[in-house]
Structures are given as C-alpha cells and as structure tokens.
C-alpha cells in the first residue's frame, strides 16, 4: 500500500500549521479525498495512529470528506457524476468525457487548542 508516505505528509502539514498557529494540541484534521483516488481512509487512519505518537497530533481524529467523481462531456459540456462505468454522458450519450473531479487529496482544515 502507498498510504504510509501520504500519512507522513499529513502529519508534517498538521505540525507545521499548528506551530504557525501556536497551538498546543491538534484535536481534529479535516481531509478531502477524491472518490476516484486510490487512497484508502482506513489505511491512513492506521498509519496515523502510529505516526502521530508522542507529538501534539497524538489522539487527533481524522475526518474524511469524500469529493465525488465529476466528469465533463467534451461534446455537450454537461457535468455529471457517473454512477458506474463505462463513462457515458447522460445528456448526449457521448463517450468523450473528461475527469474534472474525484482525484483530490488535501488537508482542508484543522481544529486546534
């Protein structure tokens, strides 16, 4: 799995931002993860418990907001959330579609004390 490095990055970002805000404890980290991204929240949580030990992130809860898959039709410009593959525009049935959302992976915000 490839969530270890990603979780290390989450801890680094959280610690940097907490330092800037002169916080003494991180209570909650809000993350956005795309429906189409290959990252598994359970894996990130598992590594987080290990990587956050003995720091001000220890015990913080991780909240995952799923960013839905979003496609845009190249023929009629309709934007849609595909229910299942194959990816077909619901308006004009075109198969020429661009992935415009669902690949996100970012730290959105944090709650600190």
């Amino acid at each position: 799995m490839h969530e270890f490095g990603v979780t290390e990055n989450i801890v680094t970002i959280a610690l940097d931002k907490a330092r800037e805000a002169q916080a003494s404890k991180i209570v909650k980290i809000n993350l956005v993860i795309g429906e189409l991204s290959g990252f598994v929240p359970e894996c990130i949580k598992f590594y987080f418990d290990f990587l956050s030990k003995d720091s001000i992130t220890e015990g913080a809860s991780l909240n995952f907001e799923v960013a839905p898959a979003k496609f845009r039709c190249r023929d009629c410009s309709a934007v849609f959330n595909p229910q299942s593959a194959p990816w077909v525009c619901p308006q004009c049935q075109s198969q020429s579609v661009e992935i415009t959302g669902g690949r996100e992976l970012y730290v959105k915000s944090m709650e600190v004390e």
Partner: protein, 225 residues
Amino acid sequence: MKKIEIVQNILQANESIAGQNKRLLDKHKVFAINIMSSAGAGKTSLILQTIARLKDKLNTGVIEGDVASTLDAEKVKDEATAVVQVTTRYMPENCTLIANNVSYALKNLPLEDIDLLIIENVGNLICPSEFVLGEHRRVVISSLPEGDDKPIKYPMIFADADAVVINKIDFLPYVDFDIASFQKTLRGLNPEVKIFQVSCKTGEGIEEWCSWLRGEIKASRSLVK
C-alpha cells in the same frame, strides 16, 4: 478550540521531488519515460525491444522497479548502458515507484552517458497513477490477454497517459479483445493519446513505437538547451 483553514495538497512533497528529478534530467539532456502496466503485460519485453532498436544512436539507462527480485534487471543489463534496481518490498510504498525512489536511483546512474531513461514501474494499474516521478512522458501498456475493459476499470492511469501500447497483438485470433471498443473508450478519456499496436514477440509495430519515441526525444532536445 480554534479552526485553521489549510487547503494543502498532500501529494505536494512527491510532486516537488519529481520536479527536482525532471530538472536534473533536463540538465543532463536525458529524456525519461515512465512505463506502467499490470503485471505480465510486457514492460520488460518492450524495454528490451526498444533498446535493441535505438542502441545504434541512443544510450539507454533503465530503472527497474519491482516488489521483489532482480530478474528484470538481469534481463536488461546486457542491453542497456546502465541499470539500477529499486526493490520496493521493504519500502512503505511497495506497490508503486514514487519520486523519491527515482531521485535515489538517479544518483546511481551515469546521466552524462545516457540519452534515454526508461523507468519500469511496479506492475500495477492503480497506485502508479497517483505518483509523478519526474518523467517526460507517461506510457501505459495494455495486453490482449488482459481484456479490452482496462480503460473502463482503471480510468485514471489511461486518462494521464501520453502513449498507450497495445501489446501481444499476435493473440488477436485467440482472444475476445475488441480493439475498436478499447480505442473508443481510451480516446473518450484521453483524446490526445498516441496508440500503438505491437507484438514484442514478433516485432510487429515496434518500429512505429520507436519512431514516435525518437521524435519525442528529438523534439524535447530542441526545447532543452
């Protein structure tokens, strides 16, 4: 309790190392391709065929990414100018190469003697799609025995590819692979992608693939001074 707004890409660290890799490659005028596919689609075979065709004019270095073993590195070591093996088995990310692996491998390659760097990623259609390595072109191989539904099942890796090589084309009489349907789905996701039909076994189509690659290397050299 205080809320801090952040909005920071978690993959930024990888992307920044990939950027450093690319600058180092450009400095030495090395053109890099990242070859991705499922296990057994023919990455090593395509690499061997490619080196054999290009070796009169171009020196090729190879980074071999594997979960375990040095089998592929052994196969290419006689053909390539230099090979570095990256074994991911004991690494936190064992299912794909990440920019940091390539950064390490570049330190062990004679970049001044290499024109083309081929990075053979770990056999996997999911994880490598999330990590850029510093490559100039992303290439995906799809082989006939795998079936023609791969762009539907793994859209991301195909959406980002610069070229897709359909390998084992000599299997066409024996498998139900609808090339037109494969191409239609692929072009739907990625209208600009170059598509090649090859057989690494018979050599069919390899020249067309190599000729595209030569063209890309040449075009990039005229951009990088």
